[in-house]
Amino acid sequence: MSDHTSVTIVMIEDDEGHARLIEKNIRRAGVNNEIKPFTTGASALEFLLGADGTGMQHAGETLLILLDLNLPDMAGTDILQQIKQSAGLKLAPVVVLTTTEDRREIQRCYDLGCNVYITKPMDYEHFGQAIRQLGLFFSVIQVPEAGRV
């Protein structure tokens, strides 16, 4: 187990505004962990899974993934599936963030192994709260190291 302060937050979000709002609210919750932003699925997967596609290069690190489902280049569910099927990152917690409220889509994400599903509400107060709570959640959960089986 590692200290949660060393947890790296990987944020996959194509909308810069959303990314900025998420970051602001995470910081507001007092979470000061490093945030690595990606705006496309391809670049995020390249970082996460590495050249060999296993994600084993992150062994020893602890990653938490924030994933927007609607990315321009590929479907968020495909990214989720690839993360959850990789040897190195299958245990990394994935928080799905999206404007979608489609029940089938939500169910599919849980089926694929997503840990938390948050819809981006139109009401900013709620959105902020949700993100802040997520920040609190980050500060208390034990994130397993990558590469563990």
């Binding site: 505004g17 709002l21 609607n70 479907a75």
Partner: protein, 490 residues
């Protein structure tokens, strides 16, 4: 969606009814004629029989008449020989019977002038004979036997009798020939009756057979019509299933469209709401009376600028999305007009438009022969111009562009293939690229994710479909399948 006219041709049963009725009427006519003829013939036969009976009666009466004359004569002879009065009784009976029978005979042959004439010839002779007989009897009774015998011996009586008998024989012969004639007539009538009945029966049998064959033919036709109707029904069911599948697909597409639009419109709204709230929070800070350092002021300025920047960008994005949706909706409402289109020259002119660009970046387009079709010209232009643009846009920078356009005819459809040697599309994105506002692969080229969604909508409206096949990193082929003869359906 593809609309096709459903046409069911119901077999028309040509009117057999008049023939059937005609057969029936003919049958009844034959039957009626036969009955009437039979009735008449039976009546004739009856009459012939009556005539025969009459002739026989006449015959019998003539013979009896002759017998009565004989009896009267033999009575006279007996009396002459014996003088016994008993013989006179026979004579008297014969004489009386002669009178009676003469009346009968006259009545019976009233219809036959020849016989009447013959009878008139006989009657004076019979009267003479009877007078002679009366004379001899009177002589005998007076005791003048010799005189009486002398009269008898004279032979005049015998001669008279022979003449009478000859005359009567003639009458009998007449009657016999008449009998023969009438019997022949009766036989002929009976034969005719039989013939008529037989012929009538034969005709009715033929009519009945014709009717039966007609009915069988008709029921066969009915069965055939029934079978065809059943087949048409089955076809209809298939059409319904096909249409249901089309509608389901269209419905799924509308749902996906609604989902995408709601998500994509919501995304900038989240930004607008979020950064407006951030501005609200900043407002209190900015307008408070608390002293702040220039660094803090600078920080506030930056944050306000950032929030306003995001809000502006989001509004611009929403505006673009709404415009794109409006354009699509307008394109969807445009009326399509089928017309003969030389697809070959249409695509040639489209490739001509990009020649200059291709020369700059290096590349070429190969064109195979493409047949003419009947379709909407503008829609075809939009479809192929989008596909050619994409083929150039998503090229690989490390090699010259190679685009190949060719076609293939298959039944009532033609398949036009646009193949490039560009970056390719991953299999999992084959559907995604056709979705509105969605793009695939590296996001290094400008675009809104509208082109292919528009192309697919157009192809479908033209009654066709579009398929994509690609090897990632090597190239992509779009196959547009279009009906050769598109018919606009209102």
């Amino acid at each position: 969606m593809v609309y096709r006219a459903v046409s069911i041709t119901l077999p028309i049963i040509r009117s057999r009814i008049p023939i059937q009725v005609a057969l029936l009427v003919a049958g009844f006519a034959v039957l009626a004629t036969m009955s009437l003829t039979s009735l008449w013939l039976a009546h004739e036969s009856d009459r012939a029989s009556e005539y025969v009976a009459h002739t026989l009666e006449v015959n019998a009466t003539i013979v009896t008449y002759q017998g009565a004359l004989r009896r009267a004569e033999s009575g006279e002879r007996g009396f002459l020989l014996t003088g016994e009065a008993a013989y006179l009784n026979d004579y008297a009976i014969g004489q009386r019977r002669l009178g009676e029978l003469q009346v009968d005979l006259e009545r019976l042959i009233a219809d036959n002038p020849q016989q009447q004439a013959k009878l008139q010839d006989v009657l004076p002779l019979v009267r003479q004979k009877m007078e002679k007989l009366a004379t001899t009897i009177a002589l005998k009774q007076q005791g003048r036997n010799d005189e009486a015998i002398a009269i008898t011996k004279s032979g005049a009586g015998l001669d008279l009798m022979n003449r009478i008998l000859a005359q009567i024989l003639a009458m009998l012969n007449d009657e016999r020939s008449l009998l023969h004639e009438r019997q022949e007539y009766a036989d002929r009538t009976n034969l005719l009756l039989f013939a008529v009945n037989f012929a009538g029966g034969l005709i009715i049998t033929i009519l009945a057979l014709a009717s039966i064959s007609l009915i069988r033919k008709r029921s066969h036709q009915l069965a055939q019509a029934h079978a065809e109707l059943e087949q048409a029904n089955r076809g209809l069911e298939e059409r319904v299933a096909e249409r249901t599948a089309d509608l389901r697909e269209a419905n799924d597409e509308i749902q996906r469209f609604a989902f995408i639009v709601s998500h994509d419109l919501r995304s900038p709204l989240v930004n607008i709401m979020g950064f407006t709230s951030e501005l609200e929070a900043l407002e209190n800070e900015i307008f408070s009376d608390a002293e702040i350092t220039p660094e803090q002021r600078e920080m506030q300025r930056k944050e306000v600028a950032e929030a306003l920047g995001f809000i502006k960008t989001s509004i611009g994005k929403m505006d673009r999305l709404i415009k794109a949706i409006l354009n699509l909706s307008r394109a969807g409402r445009r009326e399509f007009h089928p017309q003969p289109v030389s697809l070959d020259s249409l695509i040639k002119s489209l490739t001509g438009d990009v020649t200059h660009r291709l020369q700059e970046i290096g590349g070429q387009i190969d064109l195979g022969p493409i047949p003419d079709i009947v379709s909407d010209r503008l829609a075809l232009e939009q479809i192929f111009s989008n596909l050619i643009d994409n083929a150039i846009k998503y090229r690989r920078d490390d090699r010259p562009v190679q685009i190949k356009i060719d076609s293939e005819e298959r039944g009532n459809f033609i398949i036009v293939r646009v193949a490039d040697n560009g970056r390719g599309i991953e299999k999992r994105d084959y559907e995604r690229i056709f979705e509105l506002f969605r793009r695939a692969g590296a996001q290094d080229r400008p675009g809104e994710g509208i082109g292919l969604a528009h192309v697919r909508a157009l192809v479908r409206r033209l009654g066709g479909s579009i398929r994509v096949d690609s090897i990632f990193g090597q190239g992509t082929t779009f196959a547009v399948i279009l009906p050769k003869q598109w018919i606009a359906v209102a």
